[in-house]
Amino acid sequence: MTEAGHTHGDHSQWAETSHCRVAAVRHFGAFAVLELIAPRVARRAAPGQFVMVTVPGGGSFLRRPISLFAAHADRISLLVEARGGGTERLTRLDVGDAVEVAGPLGSAFPTEDVSNALLVGGGIGCAPLQYLADELSAAGAHVTACFGFRDFRSARAAGAFTIDRLWVATEDGSVGRAGTVLHLLAALDVSPGTTVYACGPTPMVAAVQRWTFAEGLHGYVSLEAHMACGTGSCHGCVVDTARGKLRVCAEGPVFRLDEVTP
């Protein structure tokens, strides 16, 4: 037996399966932060990893891959954007509701020996960077974050974050600086040796990758992909890398910035 008995129903030999309860929900426009009581996930989790969430109530055949927004003690938090029917139902979960998750899954952001960290996020891709900021700050690193959003509606997500040095840009200028994260990066005074962590839409990742190399920096990226299983079987989420085609769910989602070609 392994970690049986901590949560109702978690008696299987699949350590990655957790039957959770919603402990708290906070809404930010079309976004929701779901806090789940998930000790088996929280105990093993690291920033950059994700969970596959079964959408309660039927109607969604596949689970939804959602990155970890935070993990403390026996809790994990997920920042969910209502994009389609499945994620929309997830944002409508209420305190006490049951939800099944599989995880933590995939690779994590390396955080060892980092003294200066620059976190660059776009849209819902900002989600894993809160957890990363928490870990880096706890380890004594100097953390700066630059987040880009399309418009006022998507910038509502920024309200969920608690990062001390957080700069926001919106393409329509409705929140923060008008422009993209590249405009924020151009205005930064970046220390040599800073580690860059990126997550967001492909064009943003490509631009951040070019900027990082031009600045002589190194870093990591968490890639998004459409997934079916999320657990390595279906090969639905592969991306081209310097190591060949790799699965975002298994070898990723975190890759070195210099090994991907977004």
Partner: protein
């Protein structure tokens, strides 16, 4: 529920074993090729997964003679009551595949290897390479590969659909493989044909020992913002519960046309009752595919449900339920 309405005791444990041609299965459930990676499951399991392996036989992801990188992304997305995929038979090629057989040589269950290709010679080359390896392998050095499933029906490669939609091409592939091996041969049929029994007959006449069906339904999903095809391959294969009624119809047609032929029925099985429906339509064994993507525990759950469904209906065995939908 411990007894039936008439007071007769309910047998709580119907005999689940079935014979798929010469291959004896502990129960009717197998995985559908490409939906279940044994080693991925094993490394996530707190225990001896090989001892607890849930399927009665293992059908790995399709192997081709040369490595294939597969289709461009995106390759998958959800559809109403199912999903669409266009993976494109990504695999390392038969030589590299054989080199890793030692990692799961201790699987107790029989293995049926899914084989793909563009030409009959390519299918036969995979079968011959595996047969040659198995004949020379030391005892215990390789899993118990007892048969081949010829994937002539993948809709996501340039040739697969044409082979399985054409009687002559089907016969050529099956015939070439029949010459290459004496092991059990299944031909996996595509639903994207006018009459599935015509292709089934061609396969059986060319030497196939049994039929498996259905592969995915060729389908198109659009990006609803751009109104362009969503998948990198443009079209893909539809699977999941949405296709189950189509699959049941085709399994019934094939079972009626070839009553003594081993049949692996599949398409949208998500529950034990779904599996029983395939058996009722004439399937000997039942493949579980996309349901594997919904939970690690899916196969065990479906098997437990199948056992309960058989018992609740008074079937003493899974074999007894075979074809009950077909009698007039």
């Amino acid at each position: 529920m411990t007894e039936r309405a008439n007071g007769a005791p309910l047998d709580p444990s119907p005999d689940l074993s079935v014979s798929l041609g010469p291959i004896v299965l502990d129960h009717p459930l197998v995985d559908a090729s490409g939906t279940f990676d044994l080693l991925e499951y094993a490394r996530r399991y707190d225990g001896d997964y090989f001892a607890d392996f849930p399927y009665a036989a293992y059908v790995p992801k399709t192997v081709t003679v040369d490595a294939r990188t597969g289709n461009p992304a995106p390759r998958v997305t959800e559809t109403p009551s199912g999903m669409i995929n266009a993976i494109g038979l990504e695999n390392p090629g038969v030589r590299a595949w054989i080199a890793r057989l030692g990692e799961w040589a201790h699987l107790r269950q029989p293995v049926i290897v899914s084989v793909g290709g563009n030409e009959p010679e390519q299918y036969a080359a995979v079968v011959a390479a595996l047969d040659e390896y198995l004949d020379a392998a030391a005892p215990g050095a390789a899993p118990s590969i007892q048969g081949y499933e010829l994937n002539i029906s993948c809709p996501n490669v340039s040739s697969g659909l044409q082979i399985g939609a054409d009687r002559a091409a089907t016969a050529e592939v099956v015939g070439a493989c029949r010459e290459a091996t004496s092991r059990f041969l299944l031909a996996k049929l595509t639903p994207n044909v006018r009459d599935v029994t015509e292709i089934g007959a061609a396969a059986l006449d060319a030497g196939a020992d049994g039929l498996s069906l259905i592969n995915t339904l060729k389908a198109l999903v659009l990006d609803r913002d751009t109104l362009k095809p969503f998948l990198g391959n443009r079209t893909g294969g539809l699977c999941g519960p949405a296709v189950k009624p189509v699959a049941l119809r085709m399994v019934a047609e094939v079972a009626q046309a070839f009553p003594d032929t081993p049949i692996v029925g599949m398409g949208g099985v998500a529950t034990g009752l779904d599996a029983l429906e395939f058996i009722a339509c004439g399937a000997t064994a039942v493949g579980v595919g996309a349901a594997n993507f919904t939970a690690f525990e899916a196969p065990q759950r479906i098997l437990a449900e199948l056992r309960e469904e058989l018992a609740a209906r008074g079937f003493a065995s899974a074999a007894d339920a075979r074809g009950v939908a077909l009698s007039s």
